[in-house]
Symmetry: D2
Subunit: 82 residues, 4 copies
Amino acid sequence: MFDKAMWKETDNKLVREFRFKDFQEAFTFMTRVAFLAEKHNHHPHWINVYNFVRIELSTHDSGDVITEKDRKLALAIDAILQ
Amino acid sequence: MFDKAMWKETDNKLVREFRFKDFQEAFTFMTRVAFLAEKHNHHPHWINVYNFVRIELSTHDSGDVITEKDRKLALAIDAILQ
Amino acid sequence: MFDKAMWKETDNKLVREFRFKDFQEAFTFMTRVAFLAEKHNHHPHWINVYNFVRIELSTHDSGDVITEKDRKLALAIDAILQ
Amino acid sequence: MFDKAMWKETDNKLVREFRFKDFQEAFTFMTRVAFLAEKHNHHPHWINVYNFVRIELSTHDSGDVITEKDRKLALAIDAILQ
């Protein structure tokens, strides 16, 4: 259903890319992540094109570097997909 | 994640009840069903309370009885959960 | 876009019914309410059929009566529509 | 609620940027656009960060240029916001 590749650290961001069956499945996943983002009070920079979703996480208030907030949200996103 | 029970025919409706882990999971499922409903141009009567979703399908234009449109949407909903 | 009628108290519940242009508009409204429900940690009993949404609010932990939690969520829902 | 600026043609894409009150409002807008995209069978390249949404429209099957499909979806998106 999605790429097995884990989160990568690139340019001070945690990045993971996902590919779904189609747009409906991709956007449904985004809806779930949107709820998590609100719960964590931490929001991704993300891109969607059809079945593709790229999530980038960094902490603006800490100077756009990766912090514990990013790692926690990344783990919560991973937990959706299991 | 959800009840194994299949669709039941009750009062000229196809009915299935689902229980999820929490509200976020339930509403994410509803979002996916909403896309399917639009695609099928056929919309459920449905109820949600926290982690519970009850979907009732019947065809208004045929006099509120169960038709092929209901069976097709039911199958498409089942396919989400596999 | 939706009924002007305000919330009514019925059977120890705050109840309001909404009618939208179509299903897409109704479900988009529901998505917004879903985020509010999570934020308030208080979730409605609600029904949707095509462009119709009926929201019922009561507080389970207080014995299914109307409490301040219901009034606050009702106000937040009203604020969406302004 | 959102920028008044209209769609701009940039690099063979129709581009418009939106700013909302907060993430909830931005993602609710995205949900509405997601339904439209499915209805039009035409999907945006889009980016979201908190209250910001950038939508880019072009037609992949026509060699990534702007076509009538893009203009129609852009108009439908504009219609949401009125």
